[in-house]
């Protein structure tokens, strides 16, 4: 699957060859020649010297494009992270920049750092996750490269053409880029993270322009949880305004999550009312999830919420309003008072 995409680049650049299937086997399109034409840089995330495995989705997407795949990491004592990333199958090289100035991923110095390495490596595609890090960094990189970024893609049609949801997922756009360097963020749920085994990439020191930082990192406050990470969990239980208070949210939703081994999510209404931390918000402006099971409890199903979960494999809904729009997308719905039904469900799941 890797070569037909790249082959078309050759055909287009040669121009004279017909765009037929027979051309794919032409001697002009040997894989080694192609790899030089198309090369991707996957921007990987790390925190406190640990590789963020979710960010390996960028490598999966890069491999789909065909051509060579390099990974990029930066931060203090980056060696261990680089070596772990080097084990990902299909990665040719990991570019690592060892400098504590990049630990917090601040775009003011990270963007010029990336641009320097992109220019040095001559990459055609720059890929990062559509995460808080990718979202704040890549548009700045794109602007410095004078490239129109393509955000939050869910599919790759060929090396120029990408699919992305717009209007809170109510429409799906296919767009073709004419920029020589394509800057892309990907939707993590659409590209599974690459496995960290089977590869043996070279680790190479990247260029470090040492751009002076114009912003000072002050502090962070991250929610601590032993439950699975919301963005990558196989099961998610999510609570809405129907929970009525933070106490009820904790009392009803947390045991349900634990009985299923699920991550906890919330609707914007629940977050705004203070029932749940805002890092749990699922929807157009929160996280996008696509687990095996998404259980919506006391959530009506506004389009902004559906945008964040409608690609889930199975959707279950518990709501006392039989007319709630969530039932139009739920594979299984139960009409009833969540204060009765959810504890009963939790109890029965525990005993089964």
């Amino acid at each position: 699957m890797l070569f037909p995409i790249a082959t078309r680049t050759v055909i287009r650049s040669v121009g004279a060859l017909p765009r037929s299937a027979s051309a794919f086997s032409s001697p002009f399109s040997s894989p080694s020649a192609l790899r030089r034409l198309l090369s991707s840089l996957a921007v990987l995330e790390q925190r406190d010297g640990k590789l963020n495995h979710g960010s390996l989705s960028a490598i999966t997407a890069a491999k789909k494009l065909g051509g060579s795949v390099h990974g990029f990491v930066a931060g203090s004592n980056i060696k261990a992270v680089a070596e772990e990333a080097a084990k990902v199958e299909g990665v040719e090289k990991i570019i690592a920049v060892d400098n504590a100035a990049y630990d917090k991923g601040l775009p003011e110095n990270f963007a010029p750092l990336l641009v320097e390495n992109i220019k040095k490596g001559g990459y055609t595609h720059i890929i990062a996750g559509h995460t808080a890090f990718g979202k704040s960094l890549l548009p700045r990189v794109a602007a410095l490269l004078d490239s129109q970024q393509i955000s939050d893609i869910t599919a790759i049609e060929n090396e120029n053409t990408f699919v992305r949801p717009i209007y809170a997922g109510n429409a799906i756009a296919t767009v073709e880029s004419s920029d020589p360097i394509k800057v892309i963020t990907i939707r993590g749920t659409a590209f599974p993270a690459a496995e960290t085994q089977g590869g043996s990439a070279a680790v190479e020191d990247g260029a470090d322009p040492n751009v002076q930082i114009s912003v000072e990192w002050v502090s962070e406050d991250l929610a601590k949880s032993d439950r699975p990470d919301l963005a990558t969990a196989g099961k998610v239980v999510s609570g809405g305004r129907g929970l009525k208070s933070k106490d009820d949210f904790d009392k009803i939703m947390l045991p349900l999550a634990d009985s299923l081994g699920a991550a906890v999510g919330a609707s914007r209404a629940a977050v705004d009312s203070g029932y749940a931390d805002n890092s749990l918000q699922v929807g157009q402006t929160g996280k996008v999830v696509a687990p095996q099971l998404y259980m919506a409890v006391g959530i009506s199903g506004a389009i902004q919420h559906l945008a964040g979960m409608k690609d889930s494999k199975v959707i279950a809904a518990i709501n006392k309003d039989a007319e709630a729009p969530i039932f139009q997308v739920a594979d299984v719905g139960l009409v009833g008072d969540l204060f009765d039904k959810v504890p009963e469900l939790t109890e029965k799941l525990k005993n089964s």
Partner: protein, 258 residues
Amino acid sequence: MSALRILVPIKRVIDYAVKPRVNKAQTGVETAGVKHSMNPFDELSVEESVRIREKKSAPGGVEDICVISAGPAKAADVLRTAMAMGADRGIHVDVKEGEDLEPLSVAKLLKAAVEKEKSNLVILGKQSIDDDAAQTGQMLAGLLGWPQATQASKVSFAKGDLVEVTKEVDGGVETVRAKLPLVITTDLRLNEPRYASLPNIMKAKKKPLVKMSLGDLGVANERRLRVVKVTEPAPRQGGGKVEDVDGLISKLKELGAI
């Protein structure tokens, strides 16, 4: 501290409560006769600017709040709304219906506007709810070489042109400090936008609204992305309802979800 000259870019989009429909030609979504309003994140930007003035939270005070929008004639409506909320004046960059600008072009246009208006703080929404790109603020900061604070949930000011911004990140919040000039993008929890009162709507009609062209700002509408097609997402079929908790559990087992 320098007095703030705030530029607030705003966008007219299909109202958030409307479910957009893809047009028959599959070139975009149906916009004719559909209710439009100000992008919800941009309302937060306008509100924050007005609050900075009202609460006198910036030591140097607020000298000017200018709202700017690029779009068809009707974009002037959202500019009037922003002025009714408390912005001092507006700039309408006239762009023909259907010739929407890509974020990079908007960022270039805003860079020119920042230089023209001598702005030292730009507050944008974190994303527009139509294209969902989430790029313009970061691109603008990159083009200007200014620091950026994206997805802000709290903004405070200190002496010496320092601004402290709490940002929403994956898993929690992060706080950064930067010196003016600065680009901020707003997140939902930053504030609760006000409704414009009738007297203020009347007053807003008298506030200055300047019309410009892309050429006045030295920008061309150069498109890098070609929309090949726009389609409806695959519809999801509801699977019906069950009577009780036991029914729910057995259906989930049947579907292989538990």
